[in-house]
């Protein structure tokens, strides 16, 4: 169980959070092709290394935010607002 730094409340146990999966997905418009829509719905990278992902402090303040996490070591190297661009 990880310790996750909520963007508002600070570090808390993972059990207080909900993971929303990969961050920075772009929702295609209604005119998107079936292929584009399928990629948005179903296709995800599964990197061994740094991953940008969304979390919600569900049993706390309720805020959604993004983190940069290493998928092997679980090191969390960045925490930023959903509306901010990815780090670097």
């Amino acid at each position: 169980m990880m310790r996750i730094p909520c963007i508002l409340c600070g570090e808390r146990d993972e059990s207080e959070f909900t993971c929303g999966g990969t961050a920075h997905l772009v929702r295609p418009p209604l005119e998107a092709s079936d292929r584009e829509w399928a990629e948005y719905l179903f296709f995800r990278d599964n990197p061994k290394g740094v991953h940008l992902e969304r979390w919600r402090h569900s049993y706390g303040c309720g805020q959604w935010f993004n983190i940069e996490r290493h998928s092997v070591t679980h090191e969390i190297s960045s925490v930023y607002a959903v509306t901010e661009p990815p780090p670097r």
Partner: protein, 966 residues
């Protein structure tokens, strides 16, 4: 029978003045305070303890600790039965009763031991090879019955368990000299330090040897402020330095209902592993016989428990440690006949005074089946010296040591192979975890203490942690199998994996150590291969011409040792397993005779049966009275969310199928909520209270998901919209008055005339008052009748029900429950999301295809409705069904299919009730091409029965919807 109690001073753990009586397989035996079950059995000369997992071979006590593979019993304590307890860890107490495992009728005469003769049929992976004809299923029950260890209790566990979280700076795991030194130094450096000791007392090897220095070390640790927890076993290291441990609170007898175990979740800044090392057994034919045990274990039984495990000892060795133990056993008065060292003279780096030592010699055969009576010593090459019989009664195995690298590996650390001592040690540090002492491969006591202190200090003060000075074990030989011998040589004693099984795996090219493990099951028993893993991979290396470093180890995963389900579950049992939500007016319902059932997480009235009335009859009566006069219903669990803000209307257009922005204040509209896959996940009514203020009703079960979905879309996608989402389900009660006389009843108790049906239309909302009580009254209907949903402060719900009660009953009405509601909505063909729909249902499937046409917003899920799959004409669609005979109830969940099964189903019945209004069954179903099959005859199949049914037009009752308007 050859065990016996030694005279003082041996026995540092026992109190000779406090005898204890206990039962083993029904026999009364005597032990001493401080004994383990194993030491007490050995003191009584009990050798044969149980039968093995697969071959039912006789087995005894093999070790003196957590690594025990064979000394396994079931403990019976009053109504408790604890299966598969390691006798080496069970603390003896008065009245303890232990029973042998996997044997019938008894451990000495066991019918299953015929499996020994069947061994050729049971090689590695036998279930893939033998018992195949005609089918494995024919043999499986017998094979399963023959295999296994203890039996679990069928009774509920009456003990209690709890869970505690704690934060520390430094967590030290292991109470030996290494752990004590590291913890003391860390605490002296100012770190909040906790030390976990698995046994009843700290001190480790020095402690049970009676070294006077250890008491001073323990006292020093306590003075430095170290919190020492005994009987606490760390079983896993998890992400971000989380360590889970179980604390045994009932080391001795438990009273029913007592707190038995505590699960600790430590979050540590730094973890120090000081778990020591496990002795590696030697491999020779008959190395599993009762009377063969680890050399260090016999040493510990002598010194700690004053138990001589035998009188005449032979030590089989391939490491220098054997000579130290030979000397130690001689000192307690045991006769050591010989040390049989597998290594040539040139490799032996130690000797024992006055002990005969034979180099390049091994055990070729063990004499005795259920107890060792001797052995045959042979030349390691099989021929250079003649065999010799040794009349020993105890054979000790000294194959070197395997550092306990489990926690290091769990934490993500790598391992390296030290050839000289034939052991894997940590390669540097794991993230967040440092190993000290024997588990780091550091053995000499003085060096252990110095290194551990440096580590403790460095962790407390933030210095660089010093590398482990690995060494001090002397030389040990990796290869320990006897290639020339006949007879079974065991690798994994608990799972009955022999050298021949590893050989078979190698022959069949299972070269990966992970494959070896799964194919032979070596290391997969409850001991997790603590005495077998290294031997198995060394052997695999020999057989495939690779060095152990090349073969590598399997990944170590938690738990380090078995953990009881009780400890993991903690308090989450019984009513706390899934806590129920109760209605504010629960007492009012109980007083009206409610029959409560669980609906989602709610404890709600299913119906209000009169004396002698069944649930079915009560629901029929209640539904009838709603149609004929008036019913009263507590709808408080209905999901309620308030939306505020200038963009609330626009936001709702993006969330719901159905346009909400065109609602005028006071109007309400039905909405379907989809997920991004287009699947219907919830439905409900959206009402506009003001320009930027909406009232959203969701399903009772779906309100939390819906509020979470609102938040997620607002915060992550529609980020420019200004909307505040406030779930208010628990703030408002909902009293629903429903039926042709609903308004009459309300008017009779004084509700505002502005709410009358002629001034307040269907699908509108009014902010009103009842006396001083503020109300939000919604005219909406899930029954098809004139219906008022009165939302009010939740604590007033009971009072409101009570006020309306006489007006309702005075008009022939009653209070109705969920069962009646289900009947009424099915008669109207209204869906219940999650009952009539499932994870594949799209709006078009339930008749909402046209709702999308006029809408512009790219609402959630909309694009998915344009996929080819969404427009497949074969999709299941909602239909109404009636049985062809007009009498037979169609079973809910029954499949619709023509022909004789197995055949392709074309749908299924989703809701089905007896309609009191029609005095006939009514049903809803999902049916392929349903919308174009009105009037079609179909066949519903249920448990071999065929019921003819007809697709009919919904709704069944009041097709023109005239009743809605009162």
């Amino acid at each position: 029978m050859s065990g016996s109690r030694l005279a003082p001073p041996f026995g540092t753990r026992i109190e000779r003045s406090r005898p204890i009586s206990f039962l083993f397989n029904g026999h009364v035996l005597a032990g001493l305070q401080g004994d383990t079950l194993a030491s007490a059995l050995l003191a009584n000369g009990v050798r044969l303890v149980g039968r093995s997992f697969k071959l039912h071979r006789p087995r005894g006590i093999f070790s003196c600790g957590i690594e025990e593979p064979t000394g396994i019993v079931d403990l019976i304590d009053g109504s408790h039965r604890t299966p598969n307890v390691r006798a080496t860890l069970a603390e003896l107490h008065d009245g303890l009763a232990a029973q042998s495992v996997n044997c019938w009728p008894g451990v000495a005469f066991d019918v299953g031991s015929v499996n020994g003769w069947l061994a050729p049929l049971l090689p590695a992976g036998f279930y893939y090879k033998t018992f195949k004809w005609p089918t494995w299923r024919l043999f499986e029950p017998a094979v399963r019955r023959m295999a296994g260890l203890g039996r679990a209790s069928l009774a509920a566990d009456s003990d209690r368990y709890e869970e505690v979280s704690a934060q520390v700076d430094v967590l030290v795991i292991g109470g030996g000299i290494a752990g004590l030194c590291a913890a003391t130094a860390a605490a002296e450096g100012g770190a909040r330090t906790t030390l976990l000791c698995a046994g009843p007392v700290p001190g480790g090897t020095l402690g049970w040897r009676g070294d006077p220095a250890i008491a001073a070390k323990i006292a020093k640790a306590a003075r430095a402020g170290v919190t020492i927890m005994t009987r606490t076993l760390a079983f896993g290291v998890y992400d971000h330095n989380l360590v889970c441990a179980t604390e045994q609170l009932a080391g001795t007898a438990t009273l029913p209902g007592a707190l038995r175990e505590r699960l600790w979740k430590f979050r540590a800044r730094s973890i120090v592993s000081a778990q020591g090392a496990t002795e590696r057994p030697m491999i020779f034919p008959g190395n599993d016989r009762p009377g063969v045990m680890l050399a260090g274990a016999a040493d510990k039984y002598a010194h700690a428990y004053g138990v001589a495990c035998g009188r005449r000892v032979v030590i089989a060795a391939n490491g220098d440690s054997a000579y130290r133990i030979a000397g130690s056993l001689r000192a307690v008065g045991m006769e050591v006949l010989a040390v049989l060292d597998r290594r040539p003279n040139s490799h032996i780096g130690a000797h024992a005074e006055g002990v005969r030592s034979l180099a390049h010699t091994a055990i070729g055969r063990v004499i005795g089946s259920s107890s060792v009576r001797g052995c045959i010593a042979v030349a390691a090459d099989g021929h250079s010296t003649p065999p010799e019989r040794l009349n020993c009664d105890l054979i000790l195995s000294a194959g070197g040591y395997a550092p306990a690298v489990h926690l290091h590996s769990q934490a993500g650390g790598r391992l390296r192979w030290v050839k000289e001592a034939s052991m894997f040690v940590p390669d540097g540090f794991a993230p967040g975890l440092v190993s000290v002492g024997a588990c780091a491969g550091v053995f000499p006591q003085a060096i252990v203490a110095e290194h551990a202190e440096e580590v403790g200090r460095a962790l407390a003060l933030g210095f660089t942690v010093p590398a482990a000075p690995v060494g001090g074990l002397g030389r040990s030989l990796a290869s320990s199998r006897l290639g020339t011998a006949r007879g079974k040589q065991f690798i994994d004693l608990q799972n009955d994996v022999a050298v021949s099984d590893v050989g078979l795996a190698a022959l069949e090219n299972y070269r990966s150590v992970e494959h070896l493990k799964r194919y032979t099951t070596t290391g997969m028993a409850t001991d997790q291969g603590k005495t077998s893993n290294v031997d198995a991979l060394v052997l695999l290396g020999e057989l495939t011409r690779r060095e152990p470093a090349e073969v590598g180890t399997t990944k170590y995963r938690p738990p380090f040792a078995p953990v009881s389900f009780g400890a993991l579950v903690g308090r989450r049992v019984g009513s706390l397993y899934r806590p129920l939500k109760r209605l504010a007016a629960v007492d009012w319902h109980a007083a009206r005779g409610a029959l409560f059932e669980h609906f989602g997480n709610w404890h709600r009235p299913a119906a209000y049966p009169l004396a002698g009335e069944s649930l079915h009859d009560a629901a029929q009566r209640e539904a009838r009275s709603v149609r004929r006069s008036v019913g009263l219903f507590d709808g408080s669990p209905l999901g309620k969310i308030e939306l505020w803000g200038p963009d609330a209307a626009q936001f709702l257009d993006l969330m719901y199928v159905g346009t909400m922005s065109t609602l005028a204040a006071g109007q309400a509209r039905y909405g379907l909520l989809l997920n991004e896959h287009g699947v219907v996940v919830d439905d409900g009514i959206v009402a506009r209270l003001g320009e930027g203020h909406f009232w959203v009703n969701t399903t009772s079960a779906g309100v939390e998901r819906t509020a979470a979905a609102f938040e997620e879309w607002l915060q992550c996608e529609f980020t420019a919209l200004k909307v505040l989402v406030t779930p208010v389900t628990s703030r408002f009660g909902n009293v629903t008055v429903c039926g042709p006389k609903a308004w009459e009843a309300m008017a009779a108790v004084g509700f505002d005339a502005a709410l009358a049906p002629n001034s307040m239309r269907h699908m509108t909302i009014r902010e009103s008052a009842f006396g001083a009580l503020p109300l939000r009254v919604l005219r909406a209907s899930f029954t098809g009748e004139l219906s008022y949903e009165i939302n009010l402060p939740v604590e007033q719900t009971g009072e409101m029900l009570e006020r309306l009660w006489p007006a309702v009953t005075g008009r022939g009405g009653c209070v109705y429950g969920i069962e009646a509601l289900e009947i009424l909505r099915t008669e109207k063909g209204y869906i219940h999301v999650g009952t009539d729909t499932d994870g594949t249902t799209l709006p078009g499937d339930i008749g909402f295809a046209r709702a999308l046409d006029g809408k512009r917003a790219n609402f959630v899920g909309r694009r998915s409705l344009l996929r080819p799959a969404a427009r497949d004409p074969q999709r299941l669609q909602l239909v109404a069904l009636a049985p062809a005979d007009g009498r037979t109830l169609l079973p809910t969940g029954a499949q619709v299919a023509d022909g004789v099964p197995p055949t392709r189903a074309e749908g299924h019945v989703t809701s089905s009730y007896w309609s009191p209004e029609l005095e006939a069954p009514v049903a809803l179903a999902m049916l392929a091409r349903g919308s174009e099959r009105l009037g079609a005859r179909i066949c519903v199949q249920h448990l071999g029965r065929r019921i003819d049914a007809v697709v009919v037009k919904a709704p069944f009752v009041d097709p023109l919807g005239e009743r809605l308007h009162g």
